[in-house]
Protein backbone atom coordinates (compact mmCIF):
# COMPACT_ATOMS: atom_id res chain seq x y z
CA UNK A 1 0.00 0.00 0.00
CA UNK A 2 2.93 2.34 0.72
CA UNK A 3 4.13 1.72 -2.83
CA UNK A 4 1.01 3.33 -4.27
CA UNK A 5 1.64 6.97 -3.33
CA UNK A 6 5.19 6.46 -4.62
CA UNK A 7 3.84 5.28 -7.91
CA UNK A 8 1.49 8.19 -8.18
CA UNK A 9 4.28 10.61 -7.35
CA UNK A 10 6.54 9.14 -10.02
CA UNK A 11 3.64 9.39 -12.44
CA UNK A 12 3.18 13.04 -11.64
CA UNK A 13 6.89 13.74 -12.05
CA UNK A 14 6.99 11.88 -15.34
CA UNK A 15 3.92 13.74 -16.61
CA UNK A 16 5.47 17.10 -15.71
CA UNK A 17 8.77 16.11 -17.32
CA UNK A 18 7.05 14.98 -20.46
CA UNK A 19 4.93 18.10 -20.61
CA UNK A 20 7.94 20.40 -20.26
CA UNK A 21 9.87 18.75 -23.09
CA UNK A 22 10.38 20.93 -26.11
CA UNK A 23 9.37 19.58 -29.47
CA UNK A 24 12.46 17.89 -30.87
CA UNK A 25 13.51 19.32 -34.19
CA UNK A 26 14.52 16.42 -36.34
CA UNK A 27 12.19 13.87 -37.77
CA UNK A 28 14.18 11.02 -39.21
CA UNK A 29 13.53 9.13 -42.40
CA UNK A 30 14.98 5.69 -42.97
CA UNK A 31 15.39 3.45 -45.94
CA UNK A 32 15.97 -0.13 -44.95
CA UNK A 33 16.89 -3.05 -47.16
CA UNK A 34 17.82 -6.46 -45.91
CA UNK A 35 19.61 -9.20 -47.80
CA UNK A 36 19.84 -12.85 -46.80
CA UNK A 37 23.28 -14.03 -45.74
CA UNK A 38 24.81 -17.46 -46.06
CA UNK A 39 23.45 -18.36 -42.63
CA UNK A 40 19.81 -19.36 -42.56
CA UNK A 41 17.47 -16.68 -41.15
CA UNK A 42 20.29 -14.18 -40.80
CA UNK A 43 19.87 -10.95 -42.72
CA UNK A 44 22.24 -8.14 -43.44
CA UNK A 45 20.35 -4.86 -43.27
CA UNK A 46 21.51 -1.60 -44.81
CA UNK A 47 19.95 1.50 -43.31
CA UNK A 48 20.08 4.97 -44.80
CA UNK A 49 19.05 7.79 -42.47
CA UNK A 50 18.11 11.27 -43.50
CA UNK A 51 16.29 14.28 -42.13
CA UNK A 52 12.66 14.08 -43.26
CA UNK A 53 12.53 17.84 -43.87
CA UNK A 54 15.96 18.83 -45.19
CA UNK A 55 16.96 15.53 -46.71
CA UNK A 56 20.42 15.81 -45.11
CA UNK A 57 22.13 12.57 -44.10
CA UNK A 58 22.05 11.83 -40.38
CA UNK A 59 25.47 10.90 -39.10
CA UNK A 60 26.81 9.94 -35.70
CA UNK A 61 23.50 8.44 -34.55
CA UNK A 62 23.30 5.39 -32.26
CA UNK A 63 21.22 3.03 -34.36
CA UNK A 64 19.64 -0.12 -32.96
CA UNK A 65 17.71 -2.55 -35.12
CA UNK A 66 15.10 -4.92 -33.75
CA UNK A 67 12.09 -6.72 -35.15
CA UNK A 68 8.86 -8.32 -34.06
CA UNK A 69 6.08 -10.24 -35.62
CA UNK A 70 2.85 -8.27 -35.46
CA UNK A 71 0.72 -11.40 -35.63
CA UNK A 72 2.47 -12.76 -32.54
CA UNK A 73 2.31 -9.88 -30.13
CA UNK A 74 5.08 -9.88 -27.57
CA UNK A 75 6.40 -13.09 -29.05
CA UNK A 76 9.21 -13.70 -31.46
CA UNK A 77 10.74 -10.33 -30.99
CA UNK A 78 14.33 -10.18 -32.03
CA UNK A 79 16.77 -8.88 -29.48
CA UNK A 80 17.85 -5.52 -30.89
CA UNK A 81 21.36 -5.24 -32.32
CA UNK A 82 23.53 -2.16 -32.69
CA UNK A 83 24.14 -1.02 -36.22
CA UNK A 84 27.59 0.17 -37.28
CA UNK A 85 28.22 3.18 -39.55
CA UNK A 86 28.92 2.25 -43.14
CA UNK A 87 31.16 4.06 -45.61
CA UNK A 88 28.66 6.58 -47.01
CA UNK A 89 27.36 9.38 -44.77
CA UNK A 90 24.15 8.43 -42.99
CA UNK A 91 24.37 4.75 -43.82
CA UNK A 92 24.54 1.98 -41.25
CA UNK A 93 24.63 -1.82 -41.31
CA UNK A 94 23.29 -4.40 -38.91
CA UNK A 95 22.87 -8.17 -38.93
CA UNK A 96 19.65 -9.50 -37.48
CA UNK A 97 18.84 -13.10 -36.75
CA UNK A 98 15.15 -13.91 -37.12
CA UNK A 99 13.28 -16.81 -35.58
CA UNK A 100 11.28 -17.65 -38.67
CA UNK A 101 10.35 -16.39 -42.11
CA UNK A 102 7.30 -14.24 -42.62
CA UNK A 103 6.09 -10.68 -42.11
CA UNK A 104 8.09 -8.70 -39.60
CA UNK A 105 7.97 -5.16 -38.34
CA UNK A 106 11.57 -3.96 -38.39
CA UNK A 107 12.17 -1.30 -35.77
CA UNK A 108 15.00 1.16 -36.21
CA UNK A 109 15.66 3.04 -32.98
CA UNK A 110 17.77 6.17 -33.06
CA UNK A 111 19.54 7.59 -30.02
CA UNK A 112 22.22 10.15 -29.41
CA UNK A 113 21.91 13.41 -31.40
CA UNK A 114 18.58 12.28 -32.87
CA UNK A 115 15.94 10.31 -30.97
CA UNK A 116 13.34 8.63 -33.09
CA UNK A 117 11.92 5.29 -34.11
CA UNK A 118 11.09 4.18 -37.60
CA UNK A 119 9.09 1.03 -38.20
CA UNK A 120 9.14 -0.80 -41.52
CA UNK A 121 6.95 -3.73 -42.47
CA UNK A 122 9.09 -6.24 -44.33
CA UNK A 123 8.63 -9.72 -45.61
CA UNK A 124 11.46 -12.17 -45.11
CA UNK A 125 11.35 -15.24 -47.28
CA UNK A 126 13.67 -18.23 -47.56
CA UNK A 127 16.32 -17.97 -50.21
CA UNK A 128 15.03 -19.42 -53.47
Amino acid sequence: MIAVPGFLLSLLVAMVLSGSGLAAGVKAKAEVSCAATAKSLEYDCAIKLSDQRSGAALTGVDVTVGADMPSMPMAHNVKPVKAVPDSAAGTYRARILLEMHGDWAVKVDLAGPVRDRIVKSMRFEPKP
Partner: protein
Protein backbone atom coordinates in the same frame (compact mmCIF):
# COMPACT_ATOMS: atom_id res chain seq x y z
CA UNK B 1 18.86 -0.33 -17.06
CA UNK B 2 19.72 -0.73 -20.73
CA UNK B 3 17.24 0.16 -23.44
CA UNK B 4 16.34 -3.44 -24.15
CA UNK B 5 15.50 -4.10 -20.53
CA UNK B 6 13.47 -0.91 -20.33
CA UNK B 7 11.63 -2.08 -23.44
CA UNK B 8 10.81 -5.45 -21.90
CA UNK B 9 9.73 -3.95 -18.58
CA UNK B 10 7.56 -1.41 -20.44
CA UNK B 11 6.02 -4.21 -22.49
CA UNK B 12 5.21 -6.16 -19.34
CA UNK B 13 3.53 -3.07 -17.92
CA UNK B 14 1.45 -2.39 -21.02
CA UNK B 15 0.33 -5.98 -21.54
CA UNK B 16 -0.65 -6.09 -17.87
CA UNK B 17 -3.52 -3.75 -18.72
CA UNK B 18 -5.10 -6.25 -21.13
CA UNK B 19 -4.45 -9.02 -18.62
CA UNK B 20 -6.21 -7.03 -15.88
CA UNK B 21 -9.06 -6.33 -18.27
CA UNK B 22 -9.60 -10.04 -18.95
CA UNK B 23 -9.14 -10.76 -15.22
CA UNK B 24 -11.95 -8.40 -14.27
CA UNK B 25 -14.36 -10.36 -16.45
CA UNK B 26 -13.00 -13.66 -15.18
CA UNK B 27 -13.92 -12.45 -11.69
CA UNK B 28 -17.54 -12.30 -12.78
CA UNK B 29 -17.19 -15.79 -14.24
CA UNK B 30 -17.13 -14.77 -17.88
CA UNK B 31 -14.44 -15.79 -20.32
CA UNK B 32 -13.79 -13.13 -22.93
CA UNK B 33 -11.59 -13.78 -25.93
CA UNK B 34 -12.16 -10.23 -27.06
CA UNK B 35 -10.41 -7.81 -24.71
CA UNK B 36 -7.77 -7.15 -27.37
CA UNK B 37 -10.48 -5.33 -29.33
CA UNK B 38 -10.81 -2.66 -26.62
CA UNK B 39 -7.01 -2.51 -26.46
CA UNK B 40 -7.02 -1.85 -30.23
CA UNK B 41 -9.77 0.75 -29.99
CA UNK B 42 -7.86 2.55 -27.23
CA UNK B 43 -4.61 2.38 -29.23
CA UNK B 44 -6.09 3.82 -32.43
CA UNK B 45 -8.14 6.46 -30.61
CA UNK B 46 -5.27 7.82 -28.55
CA UNK B 47 -2.96 7.71 -31.57
CA UNK B 48 -5.45 9.77 -33.58
CA UNK B 49 -5.78 12.27 -30.74
CA UNK B 50 -2.04 12.89 -30.28
CA UNK B 51 -0.47 12.18 -33.69
CA UNK B 52 -3.21 13.60 -35.91
CA UNK B 53 -5.10 16.14 -33.85
CA UNK B 54 -1.97 17.22 -31.97
CA UNK B 55 -3.72 17.23 -28.62
CA UNK B 56 -1.97 16.48 -25.31
CA UNK B 57 -0.99 12.94 -24.40
CA UNK B 58 -3.17 12.82 -21.27
CA UNK B 59 -6.18 13.67 -23.42
CA UNK B 60 -5.20 10.90 -25.85
CA UNK B 61 -5.04 8.34 -23.05
CA UNK B 62 -8.34 9.57 -21.63
CA UNK B 63 -9.98 9.32 -25.04
CA UNK B 64 -8.59 5.79 -25.47
CA UNK B 65 -9.98 4.71 -22.10
CA UNK B 66 -13.34 6.37 -22.78
CA UNK B 67 -13.82 4.77 -26.19
CA UNK B 68 -12.78 1.43 -24.69
CA UNK B 69 -15.52 1.84 -22.08
CA UNK B 70 -18.12 2.97 -24.60
CA UNK B 71 -17.36 0.05 -26.92
CA UNK B 72 -17.54 -2.38 -24.01
CA UNK B 73 -20.95 -0.98 -23.06
CA UNK B 74 -22.26 -1.39 -26.61
CA UNK B 75 -20.95 -4.95 -26.85
CA UNK B 76 -21.98 -5.85 -23.33
CA UNK B 77 -25.64 -4.88 -23.74
CA UNK B 78 -26.48 -7.73 -26.13
CA UNK B 79 -23.79 -10.25 -25.12
CA UNK B 80 -23.88 -10.23 -21.33
CA UNK B 81 -27.19 -12.05 -21.35
CA UNK B 82 -25.29 -14.95 -22.88
CA UNK B 83 -23.37 -17.38 -20.75
CA UNK B 84 -20.22 -19.46 -20.81
CA UNK B 85 -19.36 -20.72 -24.25
CA UNK B 86 -21.87 -18.51 -26.05
CA UNK B 87 -20.43 -15.40 -24.44
CA UNK B 88 -16.87 -16.51 -25.19
CA UNK B 89 -17.69 -17.07 -28.86
CA UNK B 90 -19.57 -13.77 -29.11
CA UNK B 91 -16.57 -11.83 -27.73
CA UNK B 92 -14.25 -13.67 -30.14
CA UNK B 93 -16.47 -12.82 -33.10
CA UNK B 94 -16.69 -9.19 -32.01
CA UNK B 95 -12.92 -8.85 -31.63
CA UNK B 96 -12.27 -10.34 -35.05
CA UNK B 97 -14.86 -7.99 -36.54
CA UNK B 98 -13.07 -5.04 -34.93
CA UNK B 99 -9.71 -6.21 -36.27
CA UNK B 100 -11.12 -6.52 -39.79
CA UNK B 101 -12.75 -3.09 -39.51
CA UNK B 102 -9.33 -1.66 -38.65
CA UNK B 103 -7.96 -3.36 -41.77
CA UNK B 104 -10.49 -1.30 -43.74
CA UNK B 105 -10.12 1.88 -41.69
CA UNK B 106 -8.35 4.68 -43.55
CA UNK B 107 -8.17 8.17 -42.14
CA UNK B 108 -5.04 10.10 -42.97
CA UNK B 109 -3.96 13.71 -42.95
CA UNK B 110 -0.79 15.38 -44.16
CA UNK B 111 1.66 16.43 -41.49
CA UNK B 112 5.19 17.64 -42.24
CA UNK B 113 4.76 16.57 -45.83
CA UNK B 114 3.90 13.05 -44.87
CA UNK B 115 0.64 11.18 -44.51
CA UNK B 116 -0.19 10.32 -40.92
CA UNK B 117 -3.04 8.17 -39.66
CA UNK B 118 -4.54 4.71 -39.83
CA UNK B 119 -3.99 3.22 -43.25
CA UNK B 120 -5.89 -0.04 -43.32
CA UNK B 121 -3.80 -3.17 -43.20
CA UNK B 122 -0.60 -1.09 -43.26
CA UNK B 123 -1.50 0.15 -39.84
CA UNK B 124 -0.96 3.47 -38.14
CA UNK B 125 2.63 4.73 -38.06
CA UNK B 126 4.37 7.71 -36.62
CA UNK B 127 2.62 8.02 -33.30
CA UNK B 128 5.71 9.95 -32.33
CA UNK B 129 4.53 11.81 -29.28
CA UNK B 130 7.33 10.57 -27.04
CA UNK B 131 9.96 11.59 -29.59
CA UNK B 132 8.40 14.92 -30.45
CA UNK B 133 8.14 15.80 -26.78
CA UNK B 134 11.42 14.29 -25.74
CA UNK B 135 10.03 11.77 -23.30
CA UNK B 136 12.81 9.32 -22.52
CA UNK B 137 12.21 5.57 -22.51
CA UNK B 138 12.68 5.57 -18.74
CA UNK B 139 10.19 8.37 -18.25
CA UNK B 140 7.65 6.59 -20.40
CA UNK B 141 8.20 3.41 -18.39
CA UNK B 142 7.47 5.42 -15.25
CA UNK B 143 4.28 6.75 -16.81
CA UNK B 144 3.22 3.19 -17.66
CA UNK B 145 3.93 1.91 -14.17
CA UNK B 146 2.40 4.97 -12.53
CA UNK B 147 -0.86 4.33 -14.35
CA UNK B 148 -0.61 0.60 -13.73
CA UNK B 149 -0.08 1.29 -10.03
CA UNK B 150 -3.09 3.59 -9.98
CA UNK B 151 -5.19 0.96 -11.80
CA UNK B 152 -4.11 -1.73 -9.33
CA UNK B 153 -4.89 0.55 -6.41
CA UNK B 154 -8.32 1.14 -7.91
CA UNK B 155 -8.85 -2.60 -8.29
CA UNK B 156 -7.86 -3.20 -4.66
CA UNK B 157 -10.38 -0.62 -3.52
CA UNK B 158 -12.93 -2.22 -5.82
CA UNK B 159 -12.33 -5.69 -4.43
CA UNK B 160 -13.06 -4.40 -0.94
CA UNK B 161 -16.20 -2.62 -2.08
CA UNK B 162 -19.77 -3.81 -2.37
CA UNK B 163 -19.44 -3.86 -6.15
CA UNK B 164 -16.33 -6.04 -5.94
CA UNK B 165 -18.15 -8.45 -3.62
CA UNK B 166 -20.96 -8.59 -6.18
CA UNK B 167 -18.43 -9.42 -8.95
CA UNK B 168 -17.10 -12.34 -6.93
CA UNK B 169 -20.59 -13.55 -5.96
CA UNK B 170 -21.68 -13.58 -9.61
CA UNK B 171 -18.43 -15.25 -10.61
CA UNK B 172 -18.96 -18.07 -8.17
CA UNK B 173 -22.64 -18.65 -8.79
CA UNK B 174 -24.79 -16.12 -10.60
CA UNK B 175 -28.09 -17.67 -9.60
CA UNK B 176 -27.09 -17.74 -5.95
CA UNK B 177 -25.88 -14.14 -6.28
CA UNK B 178 -29.24 -13.13 -7.74
CA UNK B 179 -31.07 -14.74 -4.82
CA UNK B 180 -28.95 -12.65 -2.43
CA UNK B 181 -30.26 -9.56 -4.17
CA UNK B 182 -27.48 -8.82 -6.68
CA UNK B 183 -28.79 -7.27 -9.89
CA UNK B 184 -26.72 -9.57 -12.08
CA UNK B 185 -26.92 -7.99 -15.55
CA UNK B 186 -26.24 -4.36 -14.52
CA UNK B 187 -23.35 -5.47 -12.31
CA UNK B 188 -21.86 -7.50 -15.17
CA UNK B 189 -22.26 -4.56 -17.50
CA UNK B 190 -20.35 -2.40 -15.03
CA UNK B 191 -17.58 -5.01 -14.94
CA UNK B 192 -17.44 -5.07 -18.76
CA UNK B 193 -17.21 -1.26 -18.89
CA UNK B 194 -14.41 -1.14 -16.34
CA UNK B 195 -12.61 -3.89 -18.25
CA UNK B 196 -13.03 -1.91 -21.48
CA UNK B 197 -11.67 1.21 -19.79
CA UNK B 198 -8.57 -0.59 -18.54
CA UNK B 199 -7.92 -2.23 -21.93
CA UNK B 200 -8.45 1.10 -23.72
CA UNK B 201 -6.00 2.85 -21.42
CA UNK B 202 -3.44 0.10 -21.98
CA UNK B 203 -3.97 0.38 -25.74
CA UNK B 204 -3.21 4.10 -25.62
CA UNK B 205 0.03 3.43 -23.77
CA UNK B 206 0.92 0.64 -26.18
CA UNK B 207 0.46 2.82 -29.26
CA UNK B 208 2.76 5.48 -27.84
CA UNK B 209 5.31 2.95 -26.59
CA UNK B 210 5.79 1.23 -29.94
CA UNK B 211 4.89 4.33 -32.06
CA UNK B 212 2.97 2.16 -34.50
CA UNK B 213 -0.01 -0.14 -34.47
CA UNK B 214 -1.46 -2.40 -37.10
CA UNK B 215 -4.51 -4.66 -37.11
CA UNK B 216 -2.42 -7.86 -37.02
CA UNK B 217 -1.23 -6.99 -33.50
CA UNK B 218 -4.78 -7.26 -32.18
CA UNK B 219 -5.15 -10.82 -33.30
CA UNK B 220 -7.02 -13.35 -31.14
CA UNK B 221 -3.59 -14.55 -29.97
CA UNK B 222 -3.36 -11.47 -27.76
CA UNK B 223 -6.81 -12.19 -26.35
CA UNK B 224 -5.94 -15.79 -25.55
CA UNK B 225 -2.77 -14.68 -23.83
CA UNK B 226 -4.51 -12.05 -21.75
CA UNK B 227 -6.97 -14.66 -20.54
CA UNK B 228 -4.19 -17.11 -19.83
CA UNK B 229 -2.31 -14.56 -17.70
CA UNK B 230 -5.10 -14.48 -15.12
CA UNK B 231 -5.54 -18.23 -15.24
CA UNK B 232 -1.80 -18.86 -14.72
CA UNK B 233 -1.10 -16.10 -12.23
CA UNK B 234 -4.27 -16.63 -10.26
CA UNK B 235 -7.74 -15.18 -9.77
CA UNK B 236 -7.42 -14.50 -6.05
CA UNK B 237 -5.91 -11.04 -6.43
CA UNK B 238 -5.18 -8.47 -9.14
CA UNK B 239 -1.50 -9.38 -8.71
CA UNK B 240 -2.35 -12.77 -10.27
CA UNK B 241 -2.58 -11.61 -13.89
CA UNK B 242 0.54 -9.48 -13.40
CA UNK B 243 2.40 -12.57 -12.25
CA UNK B 244 1.15 -14.31 -15.39
CA UNK B 245 2.54 -11.53 -17.60
CA UNK B 246 5.87 -11.56 -15.79
CA UNK B 247 6.12 -15.34 -16.20
CA UNK B 248 5.29 -15.19 -19.89
CA UNK B 249 7.08 -12.09 -21.14
CA UNK B 250 9.65 -11.68 -18.42
CA UNK B 251 10.71 -15.28 -18.07
CA UNK B 252 9.76 -17.22 -21.17
CA UNK B 253 10.16 -14.59 -23.86
CA UNK B 254 12.89 -12.35 -22.62
CA UNK B 255 15.34 -14.89 -21.30
CA UNK B 256 15.17 -16.84 -24.57
CA UNK B 257 15.74 -20.09 -22.69
CA UNK B 258 13.08 -21.63 -24.86
CA UNK B 259 13.84 -19.63 -28.02
CA UNK B 260 11.24 -20.55 -30.63
CA UNK B 261 9.53 -23.03 -28.34
CA UNK B 262 8.05 -20.44 -25.99
CA UNK B 263 4.49 -20.88 -27.26
CA UNK B 264 4.71 -24.62 -26.71
CA UNK B 265 6.07 -24.17 -23.20
CA UNK B 266 3.44 -21.53 -22.49
CA UNK B 267 0.62 -23.71 -23.79
CA UNK B 268 1.85 -26.63 -21.75
CA UNK B 269 2.11 -24.47 -18.66
CA UNK B 270 -1.49 -23.33 -19.08
CA UNK B 271 -2.69 -26.91 -19.53
CA UNK B 272 -0.81 -28.21 -16.49
CA UNK B 273 -1.90 -25.33 -14.28
CA UNK B 274 -5.53 -25.70 -15.27
CA UNK B 275 -5.36 -29.26 -14.03
CA UNK B 276 -3.34 -28.86 -10.84
CA UNK B 277 -4.37 -25.29 -9.93
CA UNK B 278 -7.56 -24.45 -11.77
CA UNK B 279 -7.74 -20.93 -10.37
CA UNK B 280 -4.06 -20.11 -10.91
CA UNK B 281 -0.98 -19.76 -8.74
CA UNK B 282 -2.31 -16.92 -6.56
CA UNK B 283 -5.75 -18.46 -6.17
CA UNK B 284 -8.39 -17.46 -3.61
CA UNK B 285 -7.23 -20.03 -1.07
CA UNK B 286 -3.62 -18.91 -1.11
CA UNK B 287 -4.57 -15.22 -1.00
CA UNK B 288 -6.95 -15.99 1.85
CA UNK B 289 -4.19 -17.81 3.77
CA UNK B 290 -1.75 -14.96 3.20
CA UNK B 291 -4.30 -12.39 4.39
CA UNK B 292 -4.95 -14.40 7.55
CA UNK B 293 -1.24 -14.80 8.21
CA UNK B 294 -0.65 -11.06 7.77
CA UNK B 295 -3.57 -10.22 10.04
CA UNK B 296 -2.33 -12.58 12.72
CA UNK B 297 1.23 -11.26 12.76
CA UNK B 298 1.71 -9.39 16.03
CA UNK B 299 2.37 -5.68 15.83
CA UNK B 300 5.93 -4.72 16.76
CA UNK B 301 6.09 -3.85 20.43
CA UNK B 302 7.22 -0.38 21.58
CA UNK B 303 10.46 -1.92 22.89
CA UNK B 304 11.41 -2.98 19.39
CA UNK B 305 10.68 0.48 18.11
CA UNK B 306 13.15 2.10 20.49
CA UNK B 307 15.85 -0.40 19.60
CA UNK B 308 15.30 0.30 15.93
CA UNK B 309 15.25 4.01 16.64
CA UNK B 310 18.62 3.82 18.41
CA UNK B 311 20.16 1.85 15.61
CA UNK B 312 18.99 4.39 13.11
CA UNK B 313 20.28 7.37 15.08
Amino acid sequence: MDDHLIGIVSNIGVISFVALSAYLLLLTGEISFGQQAFFAIGAYTSGIVTAMWQLPFALGLGAGAATGAAAALLVGLPTLRLHGLQFAIATLAFAEAVRILFELFRYQIVRDGELVGPNGIEGFRNIRYIFENDVSATEFMLIIYGLLGATLFGLFLLERSRLGTAFRMIGEDDLLAATQGVAVVPVKLTAACLAGTIAGLGGGLYAHLTTYVEPAIFDVMLGVHSLAYGLIGGLGTAFGPLLGVVIDIGLLESTRWFAGYRMIVFGGLVAVLLIVRPRGLLDEQLVHRIRRAVRRRPRPSPANDTVLGKELS
